[in-house]
């Protein structure tokens, strides 16, 4: 049976399937192929790595984009 683990997504605790990939998480959030950048535990993950990078319990995942600023 798949275990549920807790990660921090943009600072907020969320539950995901253990060892889910970044690509899967982005699909669930409707963000695959959007203009975003992703970092896992403060290391930037290139988009080529989304499908093979797994997220573990207590990991910190950041999904960022460009917004208005000066």
């Amino acid at each position: 049976m798949t275990k549920i683990v807790q990660i921090y997504l943009n600072g907020k605790p969320v539950e995901i399937m253990e060892e889910d990939t970044i690509a899967n998480l982005l699909i669930q959030e409707g963000l695959l192929n959007k203009r975003i950048a992703v970092a896992l535990n403060q290391a930037v993950i290139s988009r080529q790595q989304y499908a093979v990078t797994r997220v573990y319990d207590q990991d910190k995942l950041e999904i960022v984009t460009a917004v208005g600023g000066g």
Partner: protein, 261 residues
């Protein structure tokens, strides 16, 4: 006169007005202001996505396209070198390897003055990592020189605190910075109205970067146009070379053959 080009790293620009995209009512207004400003280099901030709802919310980059404009991601809101470097790394990934960044490391929430120690630290790391760094700094000529020596491609001293609209507070320091610099000097922050932009350019700045002065004007798009013209007027006046200041009057009409009674 030959084409007056702004050379930034390896890129050439015709416009010397760089604009931000913050504080506008909506993306449509942002686009209109950017177009009226005639800007080619547009700053954006990097922030966490709003997750959950709004999956189809439009993205700024759909309006200000990286194909049409040079996007200049900033590190606004960063108070340490580490945060700023991390933000730049995320920006580079977001923009498909585009390495131009606006580095700003703030020191204090009230003044938004730069933390120069952290700015210098971050600049070193970023330059070593292959970033093309345009750096927000104070109007200290020694620090400006240091940042240039480190390999920053443009040095961007403030004219007054960010968002203050107080204008060019220390033209003498700006002049010192301009005089010694081999890289473009761009006034970043503090401009309030078109005459401020013109004064910065008349001093010999290579460009002006602004956001609030346009976005918070009563009519942002009209102000964007005014800034566009102010920057152009100031640049032309600088190139033309102003007349010397004199204490006493000097008649413009011939002194000879005046009609007398």
């Amino acid at each position: 006169m030959a084409d007056d080009i702004l050379l930034l790293g390896k890129r050439c620009y015709h416009s010397r007005l760089l604009v931000g995209t913050g504080k506008y009512e909506n993306f449509e207004q942002t686009v209109l202001a950017v177009e009226a400003a005639g800007a080619e280099i547009i700053t954006v901030a990097i922030r966490r996505m709003n997750l959950g709802q709004n999956q189809n919310e439009p993205n700024l980059l759909e309006f200000i396209s990286p194909e049409k404009y040079t996007i200049l991601p900033n590190t606004a809101g960063c108070y340490s070198a580490q945060e700023a470097v991390y933000t730049c790394q995320l920006a580079r990934e977001l923009l498909n390897g585009h390495s131009l960044v606006k580095l700003e490391v703030l020191g204090d929430q009230k003044t938004l003055f730069p933390n120069l120690k952290e700015t210098l630290l971050a600049a070193k790391v970023l330059v070593d990592d292959g970033f093309e760094v345009m750096v927000y700094t104070s109007d200290d000529p020694i620090v400006a020189q240091e940042l240039e020596n480190m390999g920053c491609i443009a040095v961007m001293p403030l004219a007054a605190p960010i968002g203050s609209g107080l204008g060019i507070r220390n033209p003498y320091n700006l002049q010192l910075i301009i005089e010694q610099a081999q890289v473009p000097i761009i006034v970043d922050a503090g401009v309030g109205t078109a005459s401020d932009a013109a004064i910065a350019m008349e001093l010999g700045c290579d460009g002006v970067l602004m956001n609030t002065a346009i976005a918070q004007a009563k009519h942002p798009v009209l102000m964007a146009k005014a800034m566009n013209l102010g920057v152009q007027a100031g640049r032309k006046a600088f190139l033309a070379g102003r007349m010397p200041r004199r204490l006493y009057a000097q008649a413009s009409s011939p002194l000879a053959d005046t009609i007398s009674l």
